[in-house]
């Protein structure tokens, strides 16, 4: 038997497979947890449609809860409302920065966005310089862009706002 509070604690220890410094809770993809005598039901919202980690995350969540003593575990997927980087917790943003990934800018819902690229001041997660250049709109995964710091000369990933 697992309480909801305990289930949340367990989920806070399940890492994202691509960015293991973040838990699934930091990432903001756990949308709902319901625990009762029957077991635990968890609702997850995927990040990108094509994210190859989605199925691994569901399996990891299930395994962690079973390990912690939840009787039966049901993992549901909910698309709507769609995941946004605004759901990454503040603690998660700081973890990203320390890990060497510049955290995403906050989105303004409904704000118009031009078609062409608008250069943004993305601070280098290593030296905090804002003199950085985007090398590619797509980095090592769909959720990141590749940047270079013009001061410390290190390349780094930027978590793209979504």
């Amino acid at each position: 038997m697992l309480s909801s509070a305990r289930a949340w604690e367990v989920l806070a220890t399940v890492p994202d497979p691509e960015i293991p410094v973040l838990s699934v809770c930091d990432l903001g993809i756990v949308r709902h947890v319901q625990a009762d005598d029957e077991g635990v039901a968890v609702t997850l919202t995927p990040t990108y449609s094509g994210c190859p980690a989605t199925e691994a995350i569901a399996a990891d969540v299930r395994a962690a809860l079973v390990e912690a003593g939840a009787g039966s575990v049901e993992v549901q997927t909910r698309l709507d409302p769609p995941w946004t980087t605004d759901w990454i917790s503040e603690a998660g943003q700081e973890k990203l920065r320390r890990y060497g990934i510049a955290p995403p800018h906050t989105l303004q819902p409904g704000a118009p966005r031009p078609v062409r690229l608008v250069p943004r001041a993305v601070a280098c997660p290593r030296c905090a310089s804002k003199r950085t250049t985007r090398l590619s709109a797509f980095g090592s995964t769909a959720c990141k862009a590749l940047y270079r710091c013009e001061d410390c000369r290190e390349p780094f990933d930027y978590f793209k706002p979504l």
Partner: protein, 253 residues
């Protein structure tokens, strides 16, 4: 021969198959892109499109009610049962043609998702809201390259212009109204594709203009992929994509 007749199912297959086939085409660039960064960009775009296709084909399978899932629809249908627009099945050509096609098609998807958010089908509306966020990045990436290459060297400009001359006639299919389109619009299932042309032109034309490219005059040519009549290229693409599941039915990773 058309394999399915229900207009709403046809409509979802058009969306899902177009995303699937373009995703497959873009993944052909793996190991061949001009620079590593573009290798990653094209592969990531392909992955998003495949993700969208999975959601859409899963929905199509549910609507069909014949027990077919995303895999059965992707891997076990023959070319004439596919409902993707012809534009996305054409060979990649060079990098210019690839990024121009991404601009033309992904800008169309952007219009589609916006209209589909009001779909009477809650699942389709959710897929649209999710996909819209990804598609913006695809459009931005393609638009940046179209301008850089179109307004670039003589060689890159010429290749972009050739790409536009080749691909532009295939965009007419996107906006050609038919019974599937009308039924979807009439029932609030999804926007009539013909109604998306103005918004699409408004998005695409300024980019092409900035890229110093000349938009070809309209022609009477109409490709017919969304009706199930494809170019010879789709069969080859599907043969490669489907060979593993067809050779080893039920195989699991």
């Amino acid at each position: 021969m058309a394999e399915t007749r229900e207009p709403r199912l046809e409509y979802v297959l058009r969306l899902g198959d177009s995303a699937l086939v373009l995703g497959q085409r873009l993944s052909e660039w793996c190991g061949h892109a001009p620079v590593l960064e573009e290798e990653l960009a094209l592969a990531n775009t392909a992955l998003d499109l495949l993700g969208q296709a999975r959601l859409l084909l899963t929905r199509a399978g549910q609507m069909e009610g014949a027990g077919r899932d995303e895999d059965a629809l992707a891997f076990l249908r023959d070319p004439q049962a596919f409902r993707n627009v012809t534009l996305v099945e054409l060979p990649n050509g060079d990098f210019a043609r690839t990024v121009l096609r991404n601009l033309l098609f992904c800008a169309f998807q952007e219009q589609l998702w916006a209209g589909l958010r009001a779909s009477s089908d809650a699942e389709l509306a959710a897929i649209a809201a999710k996909s819209a966020k990804e598609t913006r990045y695809h459009v931005e990436h393609a638009a940046d390259w179209c301008v850089r290459l179109g307004d670039g060297t003589d060689e890159s400009h010429q290749r972009m212009q050739e790409a536009l001359d080749t691909l532009w006639p295939y965009t007419a299919e996107l906006f050609t109204a038919d019974a599937v389109d009308e039924a979807a619009a009439a029932t609030g299932f999804g926007p009539a594709w013909a109604s998306l042309e103005a918004g699409w032109q408004k998005l695409v034309r300024p980019v092409l203009e900035e890229a110093t490219l000349a938009v070809p005059a309209p022609t009477a040519f109409r490709s017919t992929g969304k009706g199930g009549v494809h170019s010879e290229h789709l069969g080859h693409l599907l043969a490669l994509m489907q060979t593993l599941p067809r050779s080893h039915p039920g195989a699991r990773w």
